[in-house]
Every structure is written in structure tokens, then in C-alpha cells.
């Protein structure tokens, strides 16, 4: 992934996106964060313009020559224009509509955090303003707590990583009592990712969550590759996926998002099956089943032997599957898979995703989702588009 031009170290070709990234660096160093930085920028032009107006006043500069006064006047006009331009840029930025919707659920922007990569949200509060996110999708929750798989559970691979965490989680009741209570303090939508071994498990989870305020939607994991009974059976068989979806549909009025496995021959078949079953949306892709071996010990690198591949390595596969699925179903598609930058997110939106989830990238840069939101906004501005919905599925063939 070397830069073809070999020039500036910025990985972004668009100057606007570069500015976003650059600004983020500044924020990371500045104790005041974004608002401090913005106020500062805004304050300087106002002060300068006012200063110029006063200093060019004849009474202040009685001895100044006519020419000098003339140039001062021009400078003042120029500064005022640049201030107005900035204001108009600001107001254009404000006007850009990032909202998107999944069934009846309206999201403030299309950037969500993927289940299993964002903990229960609070872990990231020091690094990113959680209120800015489109939604937080929490770590997969089961009826009872699960201890997870033995270590080693993660291993790095080329441009990605394998994990076999094994759905370690605190269980639904503790989640509601402890974790959700903390998350509810933020002005951000919460999506609960659920998993079970049987249709009954999923039904019970949906029934329980249906009564809980502060949960905007339920993402149903039928695709975890890392446990023997982790729902993946439902995700690889269209008939079973349909049955599961129809059953849980009866249990809740909340938006249901079915999270699909890429480890199938034709993902759009499963997507159509859950659409028929009453799903409000599908999210894809979960991790690709993979493996790594330590040639020194001649043993698998993961205790679970196999694990789920994620990260930039899987993005092209994910993008293709999202595009295929978006063409096959009428319900919204949420794109997941290796998204690490605004450019990646934009590719998924163009391919037909109504929203996207950021996964593994959260591990590397816990503030990345905020950068992606700003990057999408800037791109829309550059493209002269007013709403993110104008972009969704606008792939030119």
C-alpha cells in the first residue's frame, strides 16, 4: 500500500479529506478539543477584520497617506469577503444532511460502530465524543454470561487480524442493569447485538429487549464463526434464517437487523430469506472464517484453531457482497468490513449501503468513527450534494 505518487505522506488524495485528518491530529494534541479549536479559528478573522476597519479610519490614522488608506480599505473588503465566504462554507456544512433511516428508525448519521469492536461504548469515551456517532452497536449479548474461548484469541495477519473471542459477554440482565445504564447518559442510539443457540434463545432475548427503553434496534447475530453453536447455522441456511427471523419478528416491534455471514455461497439468498421473514435491515459482512499456523511450533496460532478475519484485508470482499445484496433486497443494507477511513465508507454508500459500521479500525484508532463522519460530510460538500441519501446506491456503471 505505498503511495503511487511518492509525494506527500498524506494517504488522502482529496485535499478536503486531508484537512480533516490533519485537523484531527491537532485535536489530539489540543486539550480543548474541537470546540476550542473552532472558536479560535473563527475568532481570529473577526478580530482582524474589526482591527482593520478601525485602523483604516481617518481619525485614527490622520497622517497616513491616501494610497495607504486606499489599500487598507481594499484589505478590509477582502477580509470581510473571506469572512463571509467562511460563514457561507460553515452554513453549507451545517446544511448537509447526514441522516439516514433503517425502517422507522432515523439515525443522525450513517456511521455506526460494529459489534465486538466497541465494547459497551464506555471504553471509548476518553477518545471520541460518543454523542457524535450514528449509533453504537454493542458487543454481542446472550441470555446468560459466556466466558469465551481460551487464549490465544487474536492474531495479526496481513492487513488484518483473526479473532476467536468466543462471544464472551456479561449476559442480558447485567448488560441492561450495568452497561446500558451508563450508555443511556449519552445522546446516541444504542443497538443491541444478540446471539443464541436456539430459536427460543433469540425469541427470549427479543422479548426481553422489547421492553427496554433506550434500545433503538436489535441486531441479530446469525453469523459468528467462533463458537460451535453461535448462531452461524441460522446464517448459512436460507430456510433456517427465514424461520428464525419470522419467529423473532413476533416478539418485538423494534427494528430488526440481521447480521449476515459471508461464509456462504450466495449471501443475497440469505438476505432475501430474512427480508421475507420480516427483517427491517441486513448488516454485512461478519468476519470471514480463516486460520493461521505458527511454523516454529507447528501449531495453530489460535486456541480455537480457526477464527474470523477482519480489517482492511476483507474490504473488497465485503464491498462486493454489499453491492450484490443491495441489488437483491428492498430493505436497507448496512455495510461492514474493513472500513477504516471516510473513503472506505463512501465506497460502501455508493455500492448501496444506507449506513456503515466501523469495526477493527476502532482498535487502531479509537477516534476513527468521528473522522469518518467528518470525511463523509466534506466529500458531500465537495461533490455539491446536500444529503447522504443522494449518495446511497449512486454507483455509476
Amino acid at each position: 500500500m505505498e503511495h503511487a505518487d511518492g509525494g506527500a505522506p498524506s494517504p488522502c488524495r482529496s485535499p478536503a479529506l486531508w484537512a480533516i485528518k490533519h485537523e484531527t491530529k491537532l485535536i489530539a494534541r489540543s486539550p480543548g478539543g474541537l470546540s476550542f479549536y473552532h472558536n479560535f479559528l473563527f475568532f481570529i478573522p473577526v478580530k482582524r477584520v474589526l482591527g482593520q476597519i478601525f485602523s483604516s479610519h481617518p481619525r485614527v490614522h490622520e497622517n497616513a497617506g491616501c494610497a495607504s488608506r486606499y489599500f487598507r480599505g481594499i484589505f478590509t473588503v477582502k477580509m470581510t469577503i473571506s469572512l463571509l465566504q467562511r460563514n457561507s462554507l460553515d452554513s453549507k456544512m451545517k446544511k448537509i444532511d447526514l441522516t439516514t433511516s433503517i425502517g422507522k428508525w432515523d439515525l443522525k448519521n450513517p456511521v455506526l460502530t460494529a459489534s465486538g469492536t466497541f465494547g459497551y461504548g464506555q471504553e471509548f469515551a476518553d477518545y471520541i465524543d460518543l454523542n457524535t456517532l450514528g449509533a453504537i452497536v454493542v458487543k454481542g449479548i446472550s441470555l446468560l454470561p459466556r466466558p469465551g474461548n481460551p487464549p490465544p484469541r487474536v492474531v495479526e495477519t496481513s492487513c488484518g487480524m483473526l479473532n476467536a473471542i468466543g462471544l464472551e459477554n456479561v449476559g442480558i440482565e447485567e448488560f441492561i442493569k450495568e452497561k446500558l445504564a451508563v450508555l443511556s447518559q449519552y445522546d446516541t442510539d444504542v443497538v443491541v447485538n444478540i446471539l443464541g443457540d436456539t430459536i427460543n434463545d433469540y425469541c427470549e432475548l427479543c422479548t426481553r429487549l422489547d421492553q427496554v427503553e433506550g434500545i433503538k434496534a436489535i441486531e441479530v447475530n446469525i453469523s459468528c464463526p467462533n463458537v460451535k453453536r453461535g448462531g452461524v447455522a441460522f446464517g448459512t441456511d436460507a430456510g433456517m434464517a427465514h424461520r428464525l427471523c419470522s419467529e423473532i419478528r413476533k416478539m418485538t416491534g423494534k427494528p430488526l437487523i440481521l447480521k449476515l455471514s459471508p461464509n456462504v455461497t450466495d449471501i443475497s439468498l440469505i438476505a432475501r430469506a430474512v427480508e421475507d421473514g420480516g427483517a427491517d435491515a441486513v448488516s454485512l459482512i461478519n468476519t470471514l472464517l480463516g486460520m493461521a499456523i505458527d511454523i516454529k511450533t507447528k501449531k495453530p496460532r489460535l486456541a480455537n484453531i480457526v477464527g474470523g478475519l477482519s480489517g482492511p484485508a476483507i474490504k473488497p470482499v465485503a464491498l462486493r457482497m454489499v453491492w450484490q445484496t443491495a441489488n437483491a433486497v428492498k430493505i436497507p443494507v448496512i455495510g461492514i468490513g474493513g472500513i477504516s477511513s471516510a473513503e472506505d465508507a463512501l465506497e460502501f454508500l455508493l455500492a448501496g449501503a444506507s449506513a456503515i459500521q466501523v469495526g477493527t479500525a476502532n482498535f487502531i484508532n479509537p477516534a476513527v468513527s468521528g473522522e469518518i463522519i467528518r470525511g463523509i460530510k466534506n466529500y458531500l460538500l465537495e461533490q455539491g450534494l446536500e444529503a447522504v441519501s443522494d449518495l446511497v446506491g449512486s454507483l455509476q456503471m
Binding site: M1, P11, T117, D126, P147, V154, C159, S341, N362, I364
Partner: protein
């Protein structure tokens, strides 16, 4: 405590032993916030997502003014990049829970191999916190060359005993032998960091003598902030896991199966 995400300017990167580097960078915030035993997650590739993807955990080795150092051995792609020319490092930290240092009583710092890294920062802290108390430093390595970083330990003035597997420096044998020779007959707090088998030995010897023992564990981890749950270690008391990044990296030896 506030967790930071920042870019820090690299001021020094010195090969202190064969393939062992001490990388120093400037960060006033981290120097102020960090406690001995805590770690940072470093991004080894400079651009946002270029391979290798994951950050690497490093314990904090040394803090002097606003200069913070890590000590590492080149073992793979990540450390190879770090050993090269770096102008700045992108880091998260300080992360995890550090050592619990008693203000009074006998304290032994037992390090093995690269595990001596966090013990220097701890010893620096001991100078401030417990200057007149007995603090003993026992360091082991395979060979004398790997003990190059000990000159920083010597500056602090605490008594130091060495052991090497090949006898090229200090006692010919394991660092646990040094415990028998230097510590018996008193009530100690033991803190240790090093290879797992060594720490197991130190923990067993401490338990046999009724000493409190704190172990600093290492693990592969993707995030370092409690989100990925990749860095699991088995808890001693029940059939569950603890996580090195969030519950550790320093544990009481009684808590975990080593």
C-alpha cells in the same frame, strides 16, 4: 485517570543490547499521568492503516522529565519498524493498572529478560516513594549482553543482584536462586515481570514464603482498551477469564493461572 491518544516526537532510539532498543519520546502528559506497570499501545506504521495493522503494547520503561522510554527487542515486523527511523510515535496510554507499591517494608523487584523494562520505572518511583526503605533488585537474563539496560538501574543506588543462564554475569543460574540467597527470613513484597515460566517460579517461591507477589503479564492484544477481549488470561478462582489490558497487566499472583 485520563487516557490519551497522541503523537509524540521521538528524541532517541538507541540499541542498548543485541537487538534491544530503548526508544525515547517527548510527552509531558504521559510522563505526568503514567504509573509504573502501566503500558502504552504504539502504532508502528506511520500512515493510518498500512500493514501491520494492529498497535503493539509496550510497558513504560523510564520517565525522566517529559521524556518517556520503552524498551523492546526486535522479534517481528512491528519491532523491526520501531527499531528503524521514526520521527514520531502514535500512542494510546497510559493503559491498564500498575503495581501497588507499599510505602514501607521490604520490596523485591524480580525481572527476567525484557521483563526488566517496567521495573526500571518502578525503581525510579521507589526512589521518590520509599527512599529509605529496603528495595532489592534481582535481574536475570540468558546472557550478559541482554543485561545492558542495567546501568540505568545502577544509577538509582539500590542493591542489585544478577543472574544469567550461561554464567556470563552474576550468578550462574536462574533469578529464582537469587531469591533464595538474598531474601529468606524476612517479610517481602515481590513484584515480577519476565517470561511466564520465570514468573511462575517467582510466584511459587513467594507463595511458599508467604510473600505477596505481583506479576506483570504480557499478551497479544488488538486494542489495549478493553474492547476486543483478545488478551484473556484464566482466573484462578473460577472458570472465567481476566483481561490483561483492563484487569492487568499487573495482577496479584493469586488471581491468575500462570
Amino acid at each position: 485517570m485520563k487516557h490519551l491518544q497522541l503523537l509524540a516526537e521521538v528524541t532517541k532510539n538507541v540499541e542498548v543490547g543485541p537487538g534491544i532498543f530503548c526508544l525515547t519520546f517527548t510527552s509531558r502528559e504521559l510522563a505526568r499521568e503514567a504509573r509504573p506497570g502501566q503500558f502504552i499501545m504504539l502504532k508502528v506504521s506511520s500512515a493510518p492503516m498500512i500493514d501491520p495493522v494492529l498497535r503493539r503494547p509496550f510497558s513504560i520503561h523510564k520517565v525522566e522529565g517529559d521524556q518517556v522510554s520503552i524498551l523492546f527487542k526486535v522479534v517481528g515486523r512491528g519491532t523491526e519498524i520501531l527499531a528503524g527511523e521514526n520521527h514520531e510515535v502514535d500512542l494510546l496510554g497510559p493503559l491498564g493498572n500498575g503495581y501497588t507499591i507499599p510505602a514501607k517494608g521490604y520490596l523485591a523487584l524480580v525481572g527476567g529478560g525484557l521483563g526488566i523494562a517496567p521495573l526500571l520505572f518502578l525503581a525510579q518511583y521507589c526512589i521518590k516513594l520509599r527512599k529509605d526503605e529496603r528495595t532489592l533488585i534481582l535481574l536475570g537474563a540468558r546472557t550478559a549482553a541482554e543485561l545492558a539496560p542495567i546501568k540505568d538501574f545502577r544509577k538509582l543506588g539500590f542493591p542489585i543482584e544478577l543472574a544469567t543462564d550461561d554464567g556470563s554475569a552474576g550468578h550462574h543460574g536462574f533469578v529464582t536462586h537469587l531469591m533464595t540467597d538474598n531474601m529468606e527470613g524476612a517479610d517481602w513484597t515481590v513484584v515480577t515481570c519476565g517470561p511466564q515460566p520465570m514468573m511462575r517460579g517467582v510466584a511459587e517461591q513467594s507463595a511458599a514464603n508467604g510473600w505477596e507477589c505481583q506479576v506483570s503479564l504480557e499478551s497479544v492484544m488488538a486494542c489495549g482498551i478493553g474492547a476486543c477481549l483478545g488478551c484473556a488470561v484464566r482466573a484462578k478462582n473460577n472458570d472465567s477469564y481476566l483481561h490483561v489490558c483492563r484487569d492487568g497487566p499487573v495482577f496479584n499472583a493469586e488471581e491468575v493461572i500462570l
